[in-house]
Symmetry: C2
Subunit: 206 residues, 2 copies
Amino acid sequence: MDIEQFMADDPLLATCPGLLEHVQYVALRADETIVHAGQKVRHVFYVVSGEVRLVRRSRAGTEVVLQRCRQGFFSEASLTVSQYHCDVLVAEECGLLRFQVEPFRQALDENNLFRNQWMARITRELRKVRAQCERLSLHSAADRIVHYIESEGNEGVIELVQTRKSWALELGLTHEALYRTLKRLQDEGVLAIDKSRIHLIEMFKK
Amino acid sequence: MDIEQFMADDPLLATCPGLLEHVQYVALRADETIVHAGQKVRHVFYVVSGEVRLVRRSRAGTEVVLQRCRQGFFSEASLTVSQYHCDVLVAEECGLLRFQVEPFRQALDENNLFRNQWMARITRELRKVRAQCERLSLHSAADRIVHYIESEGNEGVIELVQTRKSWALELGLTHEALYRTLKRLQDEGVLAIDKSRIHLIEMFKK
DNA sequence: CGTACTTTTGAATCGCATCAAATCTGGTGG
DNA sequence: CCACCAGATTTGATGCGATTCAAAAGTACG
């Protein structure tokens, strides 16, 4: 893992090369725990590969997933608090960048460019996640697919950069339901599908 | 609407009284359009009452909701871009605070306290919305209810500050499904319900 | 060339949405 | 104080669509 190269390629991290001195690459195996709820915040993390999950466990033994993350920063809120609020564990063997929190906070305070990039990134993320919430509130598979193309695509065209199986997961559907609905919409002339390129035809008002 | 009092009561807005000179209260009726996609960003908005919706319309005539907002800031991303990216319309007669964007940006740049509060608020919002996404990905009504109590409540107890009907909406369920599932969980001894106070008993591991 | 994973199809089941309607509730005005 | 109304709450019946389980076919990769 060439951290220097990686940071140079990321528009946010590139604005603060000084952080290079306060970051490590760590490789973790499935089921390892990265942070425990209640621990003092020492690092902020960036997922390079694999998957981590933020989970809250109750004394009653139930466990709820608060976030799954496969790429980018997670737990951004740890920058503004002193303790972690949930456990983070490795769902799938992963590689992380681990930044020391104090230099990171200091960089946000002092480096205007870095800070603006950071704020732009989290507000963009917020917009995206809110759209996903609205999408998941739709009850039918077809509606979610159309919503996805309208909100994530350009001019009714989406280029999928993931497998359909993982897309199904993102849509809150089983992969079977997604496959079947895609086929139906294609048969009905609502979608034109060419490999990973999906075109929304839909010429009728709701 | 006593804007001054309102801002003094909000921990974020209270840190920047100077904004008082650049904010107006506006009352709008249902179906009015607040901003159009493509317009230059002139204001950031804060919902005091009612409901607004951010929607994206396609030329094909479909319309998807990107965000519903009943309280607080929406479209925070407009601070970091020059044009609005979607339409915003009034879903339910509402009252808004309308801040001029430039003084707002300037305050974020220059007022450290205000900026830190702002970042804390959007990261908190991000955490909350992500948890809601995970919740909406759950397929059963019971799972969503338990997830809600675990993630939004304290120690397995939640005090609802909304009607069950609107809670159902938030959970992505019909109100009928919510009522029925609450009753069933109560009968099964999983929940103890006293008015708006709901206690999660659940003493078994999944 | 074999293995792991995705894609695809089938059949059965179940839970939620939907439509309908009755009851309860808080708030308003007479 | 009561009549009334809008909205929330609750219960019932029905149907659809997504899940679930199962299995086959296709694909990528070492």
